[in-house]
Subunit: 344 residues, 2 copies
Amino acid sequence: MGVSLKDVALRAGVSVKTVSNVVNDYPHVRAGTRDRVQRAIDELGYRPNATARQLRTGRSGIIALAVPELGNPYFADLATAVIDAAAHHAHTVLLDHTAGLRANETLVSQGFRSHLIDGLILSPIHLEREDLLHRPARPPLVLLGEREYDAPFDHIAIDNVAAARLAVRHLLGLGRRRIAFVGARRDSRRQPAHLRLRGWREELLAAGRTPREDLVIATDGYDRLDGAVAMTRLLDLPEPPDAVFAYNDLVALGALRVLAERGVKVPEQVAVVGFDDIEDGRYGAVTLTTIAPDKAAIARLAVDRLIARIEAAPERTPPPPRRILPGHTLVVRESTAGRAPHRT
Amino acid sequence: MGVSLKDVALRAGVSVKTVSNVVNDYPHVRAGTRDRVQRAIDELGYRPNATARQLRTGRSGIIALAVPELGNPYFADLATAVIDAAAHHAHTVLLDHTAGLRANETLVSQGFRSHLIDGLILSPIHLEREDLLHRPARPPLVLLGEREYDAPFDHIAIDNVAAARLAVRHLLGLGRRRIAFVGARRDSRRQPAHLRLRGWREELLAAGRTPREDLVIATDGYDRLDGAVAMTRLLDLPEPPDAVFAYNDLVALGALRVLAERGVKVPEQVAVVGFDDIEDGRYGAVTLTTIAPDKAAIARLAVDRLIARIEAAPERTPPPPRRILPGHTLVVRESTAGRAPHRT
DNA sequence: CTGAAAGCGCTTACAG
DNA sequence: CTGAAAGCGCTTACAG
């Protein structure tokens, strides 16, 4: 079917070894030989067969990225950044979505399709530590996101507690006294959002205030609808909050929608802070104040770390797994700062 | 390193052929033999090497999907749907983004990484017909989206002209008389959006109205920012429009943001219709009326068609390429219908 | 600097 | 119903 090394070798009158040397830029090839081989390659339109190379070398040049859902712009942005970072290392990205389900996350982490990929970047939601315990050493795994595991894997995530405290401090600075947290889980044993919730608690305590647990709203997921449902409940409280810190921007946007529906003024009556800095937050009728994780840094660090493990010689002891903390910033917009007067 | 067929064969006391037969569910294997082999497989933890299988069969089980950008929720949704549809055929999806650049789109269509993939689904923006002309027959290609090419490839897209006419008809039915189109291109030779623009023109003419070309606004891209810039220009016109039909929802959302900023009432003063039905449009302060393409159908049809070509016997003449038109609907929301009174 | 040959782990005619 | 063997297209010690 296709043109193989052998065809090129025949045409150039050399062995396949020499052709292989030329194709892989092996330095010690005589210039004349190289030219002759190159000409044969061009004439025949030869292109190396990646599969055969992979079978021989054990490397595919593919890394997998598994996120809960691409429908969340945060993960779409992250995926884009990972694809770009991988391209820098001449790697391609195979994308998986887990729907945040523990079973899917476990399957992926256990090496589903592992023969096809050199490494895996996984952003888990409901995966538990024990799901990770009997994982084979290959392909290497880098974890992303808020969930922390006492397990020997690199983990790239911003400091969620510090970021949450920054958000709550901002709201306290605006004089807000009833600050709700939206995005806890009903099941107290499983708290994917526990770090952001902890930050909310810590900052309130540090300010000498008692965290009001009735202002902690559990949600089913982390989508706009969850934020809308939670906000409705909060507004129906005898004493509604004057601020909302949402687990993420989608939840915050759902809350903003309900506030608009009910005619509640933002930020005058209720201030809102999200988390992720997705683009939607910059274009609503009220733009959204949010925590902006450095997504490019997250992607770059994750890919760099993964590639380093992929390329590590198997006989040497690998570097110990690390927690790496990319930066984050608070981006203040209308949902806490109010709107500049109309340009008319 | 890993456990191979040979190891299993040795342990089960059969030939590799028999193990292969069991692994691939070849029917004619004696039950006793099958059990013995299965036990050996389980004990050794054997898992087939996909790379070796691919080298032998020429099939990887991977299809590539190339979209302009994942940051547009429409493409994120589409990618999700394609991943699901591919999973039905036991295929995995390799994701590429082209940034809508002709060079990237050409590279992908010409078979970049073609040894790794069984087929390609491409949603082009600026690709031209000539870029497609000297494409090798393999891997098969299915095209998506508004751009039409007089080239022998399957093409899955909703009827963009009919959909645009539906949107404009809706606005006309609301009594709007100055209906702008936002999302044309400056360069008149390259009009990715030409079908939706044509629909705008045709429906106005059919209603006995003259399309006002000064209400056709060119944009650099199809993002929120482009919609915001365009809306600003429209509002600064001596006689601003009373309705906007946007190329897509992102552009429409950018326009809505500017309308809110300027204190223009939607839909009373300006009604807005988008295109794509992304989730953001359902949660703004003013929800967005839009054309909803049947994304699941698009993904399913594209994958089905691609898999059929992948599995077609190479010696038989392949089925002729087809244009397939999945359905679409108009979803009416507040940006044209107004808001229901507050629930208080 | 270059060649002949083994082998990565499968699948698949070809026999029996 | 099962086995022995070739071969997919590479890379890479091993020679020379």
